[in-house]
């Protein structure tokens, strides 16, 4: 059994075990055990990867396996990883692991909740290991649909509206994506020969430029919808705000990264000429996302909405960076995905815990919480600092790299959009500090809040794990950055060589 396939099999087996499980206690334990094994596998994968690279294996993807599935259309079950996907798998492993623990107290239809959550995670893991566009698309859709049930059944507020909006917008995105992928497939052998869905095979050929001009926007927007590309981001605030805690964590933390990763690995890597031609349109859109998201966060008073808009801004930065067309910016984009994933998961976890205690997410109705729940409050402050890019935490590393990369483009257009994007940092500081000052410090607004207790063990586990990774990434980013840097080689060769 190869390790990559086991990353799909473990969640599937966990789901099967859950199906035949009756008692509440066992359900939680099975889910937790399954996802712990999954996390350990993800960590093991990182070590295997580093050992492979150290031993001199310098092929683009390692641990490759492929099995024929539908021969006549040349669909294969093809898996393989490079440094980027290894790190994304690690991120997913961490977040689903912490997500299980934050949902420990889930009591309404517990079994169904964990099953849907783990099915969603299966889709994400499958997406990151796929080398075949068909399986990639399959896992992509598999990751999106459980969201409907997760938000619709276990959500809060306008959950039905939000669930439907999110599902339809994301599925609409995947509709565009489907056409884009079929277009890539039928142009994957311009000189005749076997058509293929395999990313590595397609990367070797040049898709005719007329086809690229049609299919690149479809593919990029298709993934961009999930990556909260302006103006297709509107599902995100409603969706995140209505979703239950673990789902917000998983969705903002990992699922939105599918968009960035796909836009980069599929749309830009396979269609570099069109990417270069059309980058300016999408740069304008993404810099709008960045600044719009940040400004949107300022005016919100619901904690989840604030964080959802902040995610739009941060994920916009990921897409912004991949369009900057140089290795530093790409490196920053991947770092930003990891950093934002961890940070936003921590945020949503904390918001969920605060909401459970205070019964409100409105910042006007809270105050002075630092005194009653110091542990949660300190964690919130650290997450906030990471979000506004304080040195020593993960956010700084990522954003710094992105902006250094962005400034390497010397023309006026890139300079202007970069300055606009950079200014979002200031806005971020405003909304983060405002929230911290309002709800954690200052006088206590609601007397009932003085009875609140601090975190318990199953809440501390996810917070410790996430805090540890955020700080570790902030202090020692280089090993990660190196893994990403060397994996970017083939992509950079294809994309950047064109511009020069």
């Amino acid at each position: 059994m190869d390790i990559l396939t086991s990353l799909i099999l473990i969640p599937v087996l966990t789901v099967l075990a859950l199906l035949f499980c009756k008692e509440l206690k066992n359900i939680r334990v099975i889910a937790a055990v399954g996802m712990t094994i999954q996390l350990l596998q993800a960590i093991r994968l990182v070590f295997i990867y580093m050992a492979e690279r150290a031993s001199g294996n310098d092929s683009e993807m390692i641990l490759k396996k492929s099995y024929q599935w539908f021969e006549s259309i040349n669909i294969q079950y093809a898996v393989g990883v490079d440094g980027i996907s290894v790190l994304m798998i690690l991120l997913t492993g961490i977040i689903i692991f912490t997500g299980i623990f934050t949902s420990w107290k889930m009591e309404y239809l517990t079994k169904e909740f964990f099953i849907s959550l783990i099915v969603l995670a299966t889709g994400v893991f499958g997406f990151f290991i796929s080398l075949d566009l068909f399986t990639l698309f399959l896992f992509y859709e598999l990751a999106v649909l459980p969201m409907y049930l997760l938000i619709g059944i276990w959500g809060t507020g306008k959950k039905e509206y939000a669930a439907m909006k999110l599902t339809l917008m994301l599925m609409g995105g995947s509709a565009l994506l489907l056409v884009g992928l079929l277009g890539i497939y039928f142009n994957s052998a311009p000189d005749g020969g076997q058509l293929t869905f395999n990313i590595l095979e397609i990367a070797k050929v040049t898709i005719p430029i007329e086809a690229q001009r049609f299919f690149f926007p479809l593919t990029f927007i298709g993934f961009g919808v999930l990556g909260a590309l302006f103006p297709f981001h509107t599902w995100s605030p409603d969706g995140h705000a209505s979703a239950p805690t673990a789902v917000s964590m998983l969705h903002a933390g990992v699922l939105m990264k599918l968009g960035g990763y796909g836009a980069f690995r599929v749309a830009m890597y396979l269609m570099p000429e069109a990417a270069n031609e059309m980058a300016w349109i999408f740069i304008i859109l993404t810099s709008t996302s960045v600044i719009y998201g940040a400004l949107g966060a300022i005016v919100q008073t619901d904690l989840k909405y604030i964080n959802a808009y902040s995610s739009v801004s941060h994920c916009g930065l990921v897409l912004f960076a991949v369009l900057m067309m140089n290795q530093t910016a790409f490196d920053g984009a991947i770092l930003q995905m990891l950093s934002h994933g961890l940070m936003t998961a921590l945020f949503f976890a904390l918001i969920g815990m605060i909401y459970e205690r205070t019964g409100t997410r409105d910042i006007k109705k809270m105050g002075g919480l630092m005194k009653v729940m110091p542990f949660l409050a300190v964690a919130y402050v650290i997450a906030g600092f990471a979000s506004l890019g304080l040195p020593g935490l993960s956010g700084f590393v990522a954003e710094m790299t992105i902006f250094v990369g962005a400034f390497q483009n010397e023309d006026t257009f890139h300079r202007i959009v970069t300055i606009i994007a950079v200014s979002s940092i200031v806005v971020t500081a405003v909304y983060i500090l405002r929230v911290v000052g309002k709800i954690l410090l200052g006088p206590m607004i609601d007397e009932k809040h003085s009875l609140i207790s601090d975190a318990v063990w199953h809440e501390k586990i996810p917070i410790f794990v996430l805090l540890f990774t955020i700080i570790a990434m902030g202090i020692a980013p280089l090993w990660m950055s190196d893994i990403i840097w060397e994996s970017l080689g083939p992509i950079v060769d294809k994309l950047v060589m064109l511009t020069n």
Binding site: Q68, L142, G152, T167, L178, V179, Y185
Partner: protein
């Protein structure tokens, strides 16, 4: 006529024998309920035998022809009918149907004989004969609940619209005959039919057949008939009847009308867009679950046309593959509807509110079937749709594919409305816990297993593709 020729016609002959056995059984068995297991097991035997001794060849000077591909189509239809029979067992045992149990089976099998002849026809008259045999008993079945006004009305609607469409189709056929002097497919396929009159004939012919598949703008009878007919007849109409008509349409377009490919791809292109869009938009507004599934099946027919417009062996294969999946998914959904309507008499989407809390298994089956219809992975419907789109994209119809996938998203909306009713909506008086009968449960298990595993067996699609090659 030697034994070999009997083997070639085995599907039709076996069914005829079954019908005769049932006629005798009707006379000799006093307890009519005992006919149900007899009929179902006889048909099960027939379905199983369909997979063996496959002989291709032509009979009666080419009026009747069969090939491995055609046998496969008949087998697919047989599986579907078998599931429908299992689903109707409980309904037939009701007191009001007590005296007409054997009629149900005999009429149903007669229509199936007609469809088999239709698919196997090598000539227009034979085709027409099969078509009528498939239609007229159908009207009787639709009006099966004699004392229910809606059912009777639906029967009349079906027979009138069927007669009308047959008339149009016959006119088209006669124009072909008048022009080329032959009704044999074999001979017609050799003639280059590029005259304006032939195009007119083709349009008449296609219009007639579009009635049977209920393609827009010939779909108006569908919703009323589906709503009025008993649930099991509705599922039979929407799956088996439609399937047979799609099969023969594909065969005819790919063989005898091959020379007019530019003409009919244009027609199909427009009809596909209309069918998908209108089917979807109307489905959104439905309250009655049967009408809802009726419009959803109209939209599905629009998707099937994408495979037909693929005009290659891949297109043929995707159409058959999709039909196979569609049978399992749609019958899964209809199976649940039939169980619920049998035990509680409720047929509105609102009645399904909170169903998951009282009947979790039925709700899950319903959800999986609807997701399969919507094309959500990893359920088989995803593979079916993806391949249909691939077939259309192969010919460069990217805009059509784009419209189709957007329609698929719209269709997801109304499928989710039903899912929402079952899983999310609250209800103080949900449908009580239903203990369904073994037949229905067996049928639902077949459907669920079908929609789960078909996609993962690539070799099945390869087999169909292999058979379709060269048509």
């Amino acid at each position: 006529m030697d034994f070999n020729q009997f083997i070639i016609m085995k599907h039709e002959l076996l069914l005829t024998i079954t019908v005769m056995v049932l006629l005798v059984a009707e006379l000799t068995i006093n307890d009519k309920k005992r006919i149900i297991p007899i009929a179902i097991s006889l048909f099960g035997l027939h379905t199983a035998l369909g997979f063996f001794w496959n002989e291709s060849g032509a009979l009666f000077g080419g009026m009747y022809q069969t090939s491995e591909l055609i046998i496969l189509m008949k087998n697919i239809l047989n599986i579907g009918v078998f599931i429908v029979l299992l689903q109707s067992a409980n309904w037939l045992r009701k007191p009001e149907n007590f005296n007409k149990i054997s009629e149900y089976f005999i009429l149903l099998f007669s229509t199936l004989i007609g469809m088999n002849f239709m698919i196997s026809s090598g000539e227009f008259l034979m085709f027409y004969l099969g078509l009528e045999l498939a239609t007229i008993p159908m009207a009787a079945l639709v009006a099966y609940n004699t004392f229910n006004q809606k059912s009777a009305e639906a029967g009349v609607k079906l027979i009138l619209s069927a007669a009308f469409s047959s008339g149009i189709m016959l006119f088209g056929i006669s124009l072909f005959y008048g022009q080329f002097g032959s009704t044999y497919f074999q001979q017609l396929s050799m003639i280059s039919m590029d005259t304006p009159l032939a195009i007119l004939a083709l349009i008449f012919f296609l219009s007639g057949l579009s009635f049977k598949i209920s393609l827009v703008p010939f779909h108006l009878w569908t919703a009323d008939v589906y709503e009025g007919a008993p649930v099991n007849i509705t599922s039979y109409l929407s799956v088996i009847s439609k399937g047979a008509a799609v099969f023969i349409l594909t065969i005819l377009l790919f063989t005898i009308f091959r020379t007019m490919v530019e003409v009919w791809t244009n027609i199909i292109y427009i009809i596909a867009i209309l069918t998908m869009t209108i089917g979807n938009l109307f489905a959104i507004r439905q309250q009655n679950i049967k009408r809802f599934l009726a419009f959803s099946s109209i939209a599905q027919a629009g998707f099937i046309l994408l495979g037909i417009i693929g005009t290659s062996s891949l297109g043929m294969a995707t159409v058959i593959y999709f039909m196979l999946i569609y049978i399992f998914s749609n019958l899964g959904a209809f199976g649940v509807v039939s169980v619920i309507s049998d035990y509680s008499g409720k047929e509105n989407i609102d009645d399904y509110n909170g169903l998951y809390h009282s009947n979790p298994k039925l709700s899950l089956v319903m959800m999986l079937s609807l997701f399969s219809l919507a094309g959500i992975p990893p359920i088989a419907g995803f593979f079916g749709k993806f391949f249909l789109f691939t077939a259309a994209a192969e010919q460069g119809y990217y805009w059509l594919v784009l419209i189709a996938v957007i329609n698929a998203t719209i269709s997801l909306y109304y499928y989710l409305i039903v899912v929402k009713a079952m899983f999310i909506n609250k209800n103080d008086t949900p449908i009580a816990k239903i203990k369904s009968d073994n037949y229905a449960r067996f049928a639902l298990v077949i459907c669920v297993v079908g929609i789960f595993i078909i996609g993962f067996f690539g070799s099945l699609f390869e087999y169909i593709n292999h058979l379709s090659f060269g048509i």
